[in-house]
Amino acid sequence: MLRFWMEKTWVQVLALSALVAAGAVYWGFFFDFGYDFQWSVLYTPNPTYGMIFGLELVKGLGVTLVISLWSSGIALALGMFFGLGRLSSFGPLRWTSTAYVEFFRNTPLLVQLFFWYFALPQALPEAVKQWMFSQNFEMFCAVAGLSMYTGSFLAEVIRAGLQSIPKGLLEAAYSSGLSYVQVLTRIILPLAFRQIIPPLGSELLNNMKNSSLAMVVGVAELTWQSQQVESLTFRGFEATTAATVLYLATSLAISALMNAVNRKLKVAPTGPRPLAERILDAAIRPLSWVVRTAARPLAWRTVRRRMRGQAGLRYSKAGALWRRMLGLANKALVLSGKAAFLGALCLVVYKVGLGLAGFDWSVVAGNLRALLVWRFPNGSPNELFWGLGGLSYSLLMALIAISVSFFIGLAVGVGRTSRNLVLRIPSICYIEFIRGNPLIIVIFWVYFFIPVVTGAYLDVFWSATVALTAFTGAYLAEIVRAGIENIPGGQWEAAYSTGLSTLQTLRRIVLPQALKQMIPAIVGQFIAIFKDTSLAYVIGVLELTFVAQGLNNRLMVHPFEIYTTVAALYFAFCYIMSRLARRLELKLTPEATRLVM
């Protein structure tokens, strides 16, 4: 009887509205927040400081967008170079690209930013250092750090896209006499980019959210501005809500834009044209008109060149000599390029080796125990887990987060695929709200403001863990949804026609298959969480980055040693886990990965 009614759309809408209304009435009229909301602080000019804080937040958003655009552009260039480098036949280039990708993917962005801002200047010669400081050094570090980090992820995405091109296409292109550059620009890249756009879009979105970390090096972007508003007016709830809304709006706009770009690249797009695509079309129409009119005379020139070229197929002696000289010059150029690259690589390795040899390793050895377990088991009475901290704390947070968020992700992911609006709309809201915001904002919400709403306070460790769990739950929900939607529709139909209900089908037929496919993605998510535990630094959890900063603060003269050790510890763990993921992938889907060409 209930099932009959719940299947009707209007009943679902009614139930959802009733729940929302009940919540609004309770939180709005009956619950005593113990906090005086003053939304006017955002749009009225403040008498003490003479500024409108809403405008300051928008200025912060502007800085965020500037950082994101610059770092996206540079990261794309880096990603293309290193993505192609990973597929190169030239050994040293391949190894360098692999080293770059593995190193920057497996260390947290926060540690990388600290390295750029605090450790790098000490390695530069004085004149260069002073010149850099006279520019906007904070912005430079933020953009450089973000570019290198996102570039490594983009390199992997581009490499995967390139490797998805059928090999036969490559062979046909080479056998019709096209050069490497021609094959790349005319055949491979246009096809590959069509495949790459969705994961590229999500990496660029992550890049925008990661720009919130620039606040630790003093860049006045959106998160920094919201903290500034809070410290000047003590209206933290209002400031963080405004920042959340701005981030959410920006994320949704970027997602819509990437979807529109994706649709434009499709050969035969289906369905009605969404609004975002119409806006994109209108925006680039003047540019495309300019490109077309400018290219018209060029097209004619190409036709004439081709006609001339065909006439020149019969070689004179001079023509043949000229072609042979061109060929030799080309080979010499490539060879000298390779030699130069090798030389530069040797120089860099030598310099790094010198630097490492000059380290004061006794500092590291003496403090390694603190970095690994802080004061365990001799902690003070008001420390959790008998004074545990450092690397083990990070691991513990990551473990708890991934285990509990697995079930949250499962429930929300299944809810997202349901046809029942009462399940689907809240799931969509949860996923979009969490994924549209940087992790720092989620941590701030859980630590500062959930207690205002629920009246219960959590210790920093539990706040960070709950925030990580909620954050990962949203990402896992998307993985679960992708896994479920990947199962062929025929399985569902067969299950229904044998009389199984939706829940039974999910439990016995769809989920077992989907979960098996999802496991590599889940391990990948675990690696991401482990790196994200470094963000708990901002609320003062004694995890590895915080302990390292405290040590650095105390020792003062060995930043390179400390940061290198921290980076090495993160790298070691993440690299081991990614190897494990690779092995799992091989074991679980042998047919997809052992394809020999």
Binding site: G34, E230, G455, L458
Partner: protein
């Protein structure tokens, strides 16, 4: 599958075990539970910091312990930073905030303060011999911490000294250690905050740093207390005055700021006394 269920249930229970506390009128709560929750900093030397052995020590720590003893309660230490030391008192997460916090009228609108328990002022720390007076900092970059009175004061100082780009030249970091690192690697020419914090960090590299100029702003420290809780405020004020009378205060003071410590800061004022 069964072991998975058990494991997850266990982990979910672990998550629930998370220490939760509920808000209540502060003084009644403190007297009922006999636990005084104090918010203390972790990065101010020698106010409150982690020493070589990883212990949480400092002047503020000792003051908080003494106050708790005189109130007949056990001290529960809660780590706070520049942002949270006021927010937590407002939310009722901590009862008192002993966090080198300047008593300012703007702050007094949100929380209450005890009588002044430490008398400090603001100066600028720079490389020894580089700057003669505060005027030399016009056009140079200065570091400070976001959300502190130091940030506002140094911006006003530079504006009054005639620096046109005072907003861009003051870089606001999250923590004291970041400010000092920026000073060390030359990113900024000076770091401005309370002089005792500057002395604490300068003592790590003796002879290399110096305080420039006179105090350009007074920083009387007060203990942060919940708004409109007279009973708690009276209890804390009486405790501080009792400490002054029987010498416990000066003993703690000399332990951290006495003549034979690296952060020597002679006591020139007196605690406000009511007989």
């Amino acid at each position: 599958m069964k072991s998975w269920k058990v494991l997850t249930l266990a982990l979910a229970l672990v998550l629930c075990y998370a220490m939760a506390a509920h808000a209540g009128a502060a003084y009644d709560n403190v007297m009922k539970t006999k636990v005084l929750r104090a918010g203390i900093m972790t990065d101010s030397i020698p106010g409150a910091y982690y020493n070589d052995k990883g212990e949480w020590v400092g002047f503020d720590v000792d003051i908080a312990e003494e106050i708790a003893k005189r109130l007949g309660c056990k001290l529960e230490r809660v780590a706070v930073n520049n942002k949270t030391r006021i927010a937590f008192v407002q939310q009722g997460r901590i009862d008192i905030s002993v966090a080198n916090m300047t008593h300012k009228r703007e702050r007094d609108k949100s929380i209450d303060f005890s009588i002044t328990y430490f008398f400090d002022g603001q100066k600028i720390l720079a490389k020894k011999g580089e700057f003669k007076s505060l005027k030399d900092f016009v056009g140079k970059k200065v570091a400070t911490m976001q959300g502190t009175t130091s940030e506002l004061n140094v911006k006003n100082l530079l504006k009054n000294l005639g620096d046109a780009d005072f907003a861009k030249n003051v870089i606001s970091f999250q923590k004291e250690s970041e400010c000092f690192q920026a000073l060390q690697n030359g990113r900024v020419s000076g770091w401005s905050t309370d002089s005792t914090i500057l002395l604490g960090y300068a003592a790590k590299e003796p002879g290399k740093w110096e305080l420039v100029g006179d105090f350009f702003s007074d920083e009387p420290y007060g203990i942060g207390l919940p708004q409109d809780d007279s009973a708690l405020r009276d209890a804390v004020n009486f405790a501080i005055q009792d400490m002054w009378v029987d010498g416990a205060y000066m003993k703690i003071y000399n332990k951290w700021y006495g003549p034979d410590t690296p952060y020597s800061f002679p006591m020139t004022a007196k605690i406000e006394m009511w007989p």
